[in-house]
Subunit: 242 residues, 2 copies
DNA sequence: CATAAACTCCGTACGCTGTATAGTGTTCCC
DNA sequence: GGGAACACTATACAGCGTACGGAGTTTATG
């Protein structure tokens, strides 16, 4: 889409120096736009984030945003990088083992998606390599200190952990109320059509899972189960000595 | 959105018996519509799948589709269930261990997303509990026979495996050509801004990973790395004896 | 056999999206 | 003071899903 160099310059706020600029002074900063968009997406979700809605929140016409941002995709990149920059990066204490640290990384990302559910849905094809994402990457890599993993495996391991957390965040976007209504309306027909003889395991396990978590999918349970598997899986790799 | 009961009836093809129907005979079956939409999405991606494009492929006006399908969301549900139904379900042989079988489940899902990349992107909030998805669920649960896991854990384990494969499929949607152009245009500015002293691990590991896989993300490598971690993680759970 | 109901299918239209384009007014450099 | 660069606006366009009203076809019912 847009010009990568322009996007990168924007991410790192490489602006033209102020005294050299002509024309009326901008009423906002790029961060004002990013903050307005983030507040909107936090409150009402990505589908409510339109150029018009952001513009209205700032008291500007829709096209006025394009003085600050090349387009919506770039705005989303800026939002994500800003959210990454705002994440806490407590220094890893020596007493912690890598497993404890990586678990903390996962928890921090889960908290990110809890605060900004939209963040799980912005494209990862072209990661916004801005100051936030870079600092996050560096900090999270440090959590693996002591594992003895080679650099390539380090990246793979972190990608694996982050992919898991993001997957859970993406899967947990349905509303519990709607879930209940869905089951109420679908139950009778489902009971009629789900033949226990044809699908013995599906019926048995599906019923058990549905009853245990009160819904078809429980993000909390999926996270608690999955993060242990993720860490155990990494532990096997580390124990094997790279 | 739509009526869940209507959607379910459609998924299971609970139609009104033919002789009792008035009006002109439908020119197509629901499967004709689903197949046309699937062919389109396979060839040109989800963003090319519009009600108008599906209709044109069938030689019908856009609104004509609504005789067969309540809306686009339901069409996507039908497409996904049909794709699930078409997956091979070879009987698990006794000689296989559960690890081998679960790896086969993961491979089969990876093949599904290779054939139908759009399938990784249809909403999982309301899984289309049709004949395909149900048969797939039942068959994949059977892969865990011998693990001794309780029903709730069985569902969690399968969800964990499928979530991983889907995450890799979703992440691997960027074009390699665009990747190269992106790096070429971004490289100079990135080199200037990525301070080795501020982000020592990020620069080192990022460079190693980028060089090793020739791109910021290599789905094949991510899958091969991740599936071993997933299976190791499950193995730790199984070894622990539930 | 006529009529009404049910059905397929079409054309038009609406509100919504991101953003291209043209134009207006402000500010600074020369 | 003139011209260039800039912020900002209003209008417009193509594309989306789909609501609506109507036309034509088939069948059940009086």
């Amino acid at each position: 889409m847009g010009d990568p160099a322009r996007t990168l310059a924007l991410l790192w706020r490489h602006e033209v120096p102020l005294p050299a600029r002509r024309g009326p002074r901008p009423r906002f900063s790029v961060d004002d736009v990013v903050d307005a968009a983030t507040a909107l997406a936090d409150a009402d979700g990505l589908e409510a984030l339109t150029m018009r809605s952001v513009a209205e929140r700032l008291g500007v016409s829709a096209m006025g945003l394009y003085s600050y941002v090349p387009g919506k995709d770039e705005l989303l990149d800026l939002m994500l990088d800003a959210a990454h920059l705002a994440m806490p990066r407590p220094p890893w204490r020596g007493g912690q083992g890598w497993r404890e640290r990586v678990a903390a990384v996962a928890d921090a990302n889960r908290a990110l998606f809890a605060a900004h559910p939209w963040a799980a849905w912005v494209s990862s094809a072209r990661p916004p390599l801005g100051p936030g994402t870079t600092a996050k990457y560096d900090h999270e890599l440090a959590a693996f200190d002591g594992t003895g993993l080679a650099d390539v495996e380090l990246d793979a391991a972190l990608t694996f952990v982050l992919g898991f957390v993001r997957g859970v965040a993406r899967a947990g976007e349905s509303e519990p109320e709607q879930d209940a209504a869905w089951w109420a309306e679908s139950g009778p027909l489902l009971a009629q059509v789900l033949d226990v003889d044809r699908y013995p395991r599906a019926v048995r396990v599906g019923a058990a899972a549905g009853e245990a978590q009160g819904a078809a999918y429980d993000p909390g349970a999926a996270y608690r189960f999955g993060i242990e598997r993720v860490l155990d899986g990494l532990e096997a790799l580390v124990a094997r000595g790279s």
